[in-house]
């Protein structure tokens, strides 16, 4: 159990490239923190700085109030699960898990009981004497997890641990990781680019972009109140629709395109140009002529449980995505009537991308 504190942590590479721009973060005891963002956003670099695999150019990283900037990785009392597992190919799975304990001077019997306990939890008992190459991808993933667990570290670090698994296994392992982390109560930092993993695993989510933490908060907060255009577009699938709009003179509407008028309950000055964000799942299909918005169907994708409809809003070639429950058949060109409640409308400053 431990806290992790980042105080203006920065990373600048020898070639001058600044990968991390001053990040502040306080991770609580036992909290599951997820760093999410597109590739190249610096999330892995930040994780590796916590691990000690990358040096910290400026600022401080502390574990349990002790600054670890100069502490060797092996002395930080952390364990890490790597994307490609990074198992030692020449050692048996047992030794893979035992290696770190041996180097930290644990007794033989202690090591044995810890490894066997971890193997029991992860259902690896039958595979301990084999080498990693003799296991399936999912089993290797478990050995990598086991190697982290046996250390009983202060902090677990995960670097996209599920991205090499196939879709079904990924879901299983995701549940298992969450379950395990809650049972062990170990502070965890988890890096992923997959927003489903991010949403489901995180106690607290950090959306990163270009070396900056765009938003930090609970997954639901971030989904409901994205602070920037980037976060709004990144979290949620299918992505939020963005439409250029202008606030009407009486400040009760925002006008999108020429004809679409949406009710507002925001406090915005009249005539301001804004970007309107609406999630595909927040449109409501109305009866034939009840809705205030009408748009024609361009294409329909049926997923069974839900249907994605791509609509022409009369604002150029951009599709607007609509997500409705169940199956629907709409011919191309059908005009649909839609409504949307004002509190489901997100407004962003077109210039700064900040939430209004």
């Amino acid at each position: 159990m431990a806290t992790v504190t980042l105080n203006q942590a920065e990373k600048t590479y020898a070639n001058g490239y600044k990968a991390i721009h001053g990040i502040n973060l306080e991770i609580q005891h036992g909290e599951f923190t997820v760093l999410v963002g597109p590739s190249g956003c610096g999330k892995s670099t930040l994780l590796r700085m916590i691990a000690g695999l990358e040096s910290i150019s400026d600022g401080e990283i502390s574990i349990d109030d002790k600054v670890v900037n100069k502490v060797a990785p092996a002395d930080r009392d952390i364990a890490m699960v790597f994307q490609n597992y990074a198992l030692y190919p020449h050692m048996s799975n047992y030794n893979n898990m035992a290696y770190g304990l041996r180097n930290h001077g644990h007794s033989k019997s202690e090591i044995d009981s810890k490894v066997r306990e971890a193997a029991r939890i992860l259902q690896l008992e039958d595979h301990l004497e084999r080498k990693p190459s003799q296991l399936s991808g999912g089993q290797r993933q478990r050995v990598a997890m086991g190697r982290a667990i046996v250390r009983q570290p202060k902090v677990f670090l995960f670097d996209e641990p599920l991205s090499n698994l196939d879709a079904k296994l990924r879901v299983d392992m995701r549940l298992e990781i969450k379950n395990l982390q809650q049972r062990l109560g170990i502070t965890s930092v988890y890096v992923t680019h997959d927003q489903v993993e991010a949403m489901t695993l995180a106690d607290r989510l950090i959306v990163m972009n270009g070396g900056v933490a765009e938003q930090i908060g609970s997954p639901i907060d971030i989904y409901e109140k994205p602070e920037t255009l980037f976060v709004a577009g990144f979290i949620g699938s299918p992505a939020m629709n963005f439409l250029p709009g202008k606030v009407s003179d009486d400040r009760t509407h925002v006008v999108v395109g020429d004809k679409v008028k949406l009710d507002l309950d925001h406090d915005v000055e009249a005539g301001r140009n804004v970007t309107v964000g609406i999630r595909p799942e927040h449109f409501r299909l109305c009866g034939d002529d009840a809705g205030p918005v009408s748009a024609s169907v361009r294409m329909v994708e049926s997923l069974g449980a839900e249907t994605l409809v791509y609509l022409d809003f009369g604002i150029g070639n951009e599709n607007v995505t609509l997500r409705v429950q169940g199956t629907h058949q709409f011919a191309k060109g059908t005009v649909l009537k839609l409504s949307i409640t004002p509190d489901m409308i997100h407004l962003f400053d077109t210039e700064t991308g900040k939430r209004i």
């Binding site: 020898a14 691990a51 000690g52 695999l53 060797a72 990785p73 092996a74 002395d75 952390i78 364990a79 890490m80 790597f82 994307q83 490609n84 597992y85 990074a86 198992l87 030692y88 190919p89 020449h90 290696y99 770190g100 180097n103 080498k131 990693p132 190459s133 190697r147």
Partner: protein, 292 residues
């Protein structure tokens, strides 16, 4: 082999013909000749010869000079291989770790591949020249009574030093590429698990380099057997008294300078057998090479 192949009557023969022709004339024929001559005894003038079965072999194997050369060759080869492998592994591990100047170090350590063995021999010859050699003088000023002209051990030291120097680059190249083949994340996982770089080396890096090391051991033994000819011929010439003559050098001395064709051929055949064993060993190993 390929799943799909061409079936054609003439084309493949046309393509292998040049190689087979060259091999037949310049390899098979001389090799057969060597085997044949090893059973012959020529008279002093090379006018007549008679078939003597294994007498040349008996003579060779019972001669003290051949035995001595064989012992020297084995000791020499093992020392050269082990030393040059150890030095280059040490350097490669460090070169793999550095970030700043990594490319320059690599170049500075690998260019030696291009040095011809006799050139290496000459450089050694120069440094150990009793008239002006820096190393010769340094050793003697430190109080060693170093004299490679007369002392067999000193002469062996000189040849070994030169041979190691010449081979470090090749081994370095292979080790560095072997090290770079170890996934970075595995090394990172090890830094999380183990603080001491030395311990990490012996428990993770070295075992993972085992295939490279084994391969290099074979390569180095082969090198010490054959390619050191040029080094010996321009540094010690096998002196004093044949104590630094490897088996290959002895074949040359006896066959060319001593004109003992039968004996030299018998030596060649013995060498062929030794090399064949080494090569078959190498190939068996490569086939079974552990794929992690």
């Amino acid at each position: 082999m390929k799943r799909v192949q061409f079936e054609h009557s003439a084309v493949p023969y046309l393509f292998v013909a040049p190689q087979i022709l060259i091999i037949s004339i310049f390899f098979l024929w001389p090799a057969a000749q060597a085997v044949y001559q090893s059973f012959l005894l020529e008279d002093a003038f090379g006018m007549s010869s008679q078939f003597v079965w294994f007498r040349n072999f008996e003579d060779v194997l019972s001669s003290s000079s051949w035995t001595r050369s064989a012992i020297f060759t084995v000791v020499f080869s093992v020392l050269v291989s082990v030393l040059s492998i150890a030095i280059s592994l040490f350097l490669a591990v460090r070169a793999d770790e550095v970030v700043r100047g990594a490319k320059s170090y690599k170049t500075l350590l690998m260019w030696g591949y291009a040095i011809a063995p006799p050139v290496a021999g000459l450089l050694g010859n120069m440094l150990f020249n009793p008239l002006m050699g820096d190393l010769y003088m340094a050793f003697n000023s430190f109080g060693f009574e170093f004299n490679h002209i007369e002392n067999a051990n000193d002469a062996a030291f000189v040849v070994i030093l030169i041979a190691v120097w010449k081979q470090v680059s090749v081994n370095f190249i292979f080790f560095l590429s072997g090290l770079q083949g170890i996934p970075k994340s595995v090394q990172e996982a090890a830094t999380l698990d183990c603080k001491s770089p030395e311990r990490r080396f012996w428990t993770i890096t070295f075992p993972l380099l085992a295939p490279t090391t084994f391969f290099l051991l074979v390569i180095n033994l082969t090198y010490a057997f054959f390619e050191t000819f040029g080094i010996i011929d321009v540094s010690t010439k096998g002196s004093p008294g044949g104590s630094t003559a490897t088996l290959v050098y002895k074949v040359y001395v006896d066959g060319f300078l001593g004109a003992d064709l039968g004996g030299s051929s018998a030596q060649s055949v013995l060498l062929m057998i030794m090399v064949s064993v080494l090569t078959v060993f190498q190939f068996r190993f490569i086939e079974r090479k552990v794929h992690y």
